[in-house]
Symmetry: C2
Subunit: 94 residues, 2 copies
DNA sequence: AAAGTATTTAGATATTTGCCTAAATATATA
DNA sequence: TATATATTTAGGCAAATATCTAAATACTTT
């Protein structure tokens, strides 16, 4: 959960997610969308991978990255849980 | 959005959220749950306030903090949006 | 108004993060 | 096998973050 929120707490990484929403891409293609160096993008991809937001698969010389949206389920549960307790609290005030 | 994810990307701050889920609390009460200093907690509360996750209201000598769950709506929308496009992508593959 | 309580602000320090360039690794191709 | 291409790893630096203690601010009570 912490890795996930940390991964999402950076604009570049959210942009990468946004790109992968449309189609899978290899590291070089992703890097081309940004003005920062490839090693930096590689590092961002690593953090996204650690947070389980993206999956990577080696295809010959390339490494293709894809989104793994299932990790967001846990996050949404967390949010709903908080909102739920809040709703109960609000109700009990009446 | 960035402030929100950054705010949530820290265990202490998520614990604070967890506490406020049950009931509103003043800064001192919150600080009592942690082994870090009051100024540090005060700083965490400030970040949560900046991210609009908590609201504060001065009650005499005390400052009471409460959760503002509406800020999560935008986040859930963001997640659903991503998952949605992913679903479409998956469908189009069939 | 003086003293006590609650909280924040200020300033210092250590750690983490984001970025870079250079070098290493792995695969593909001439 | 030598060279080119794709990506990562390593090492370093600057900015951001998390923490601390000491001091300031604001309110309450005696």
């Amino acid at each position: 959960m912490n890795l996930l929120f940390k991964a999402l707490g950076d604009p570049t990484r959210r942009q990468i997610i946004d790109l992968l929403r449309k189609r899978d891409m290899n590291a070089g293609e992703i890097a081309d969308y940004f003005s920062i160096s490839k090693p930096s993008i590689s590092h961002h991809l690593d953090l996204l991978k650690q947070a389980n937001v993206v999956l990577s698969i080696k295809e010959g010389q390339f490494i293709t990255y894809s989104l793994n949206t299932t990790v967001f389920d846990e996050m949404v549960k967390w949010v709903i849980d908080i909102s739920d307790k809040q709703t109960k609290k609000a109700k009990s005030k009446k």
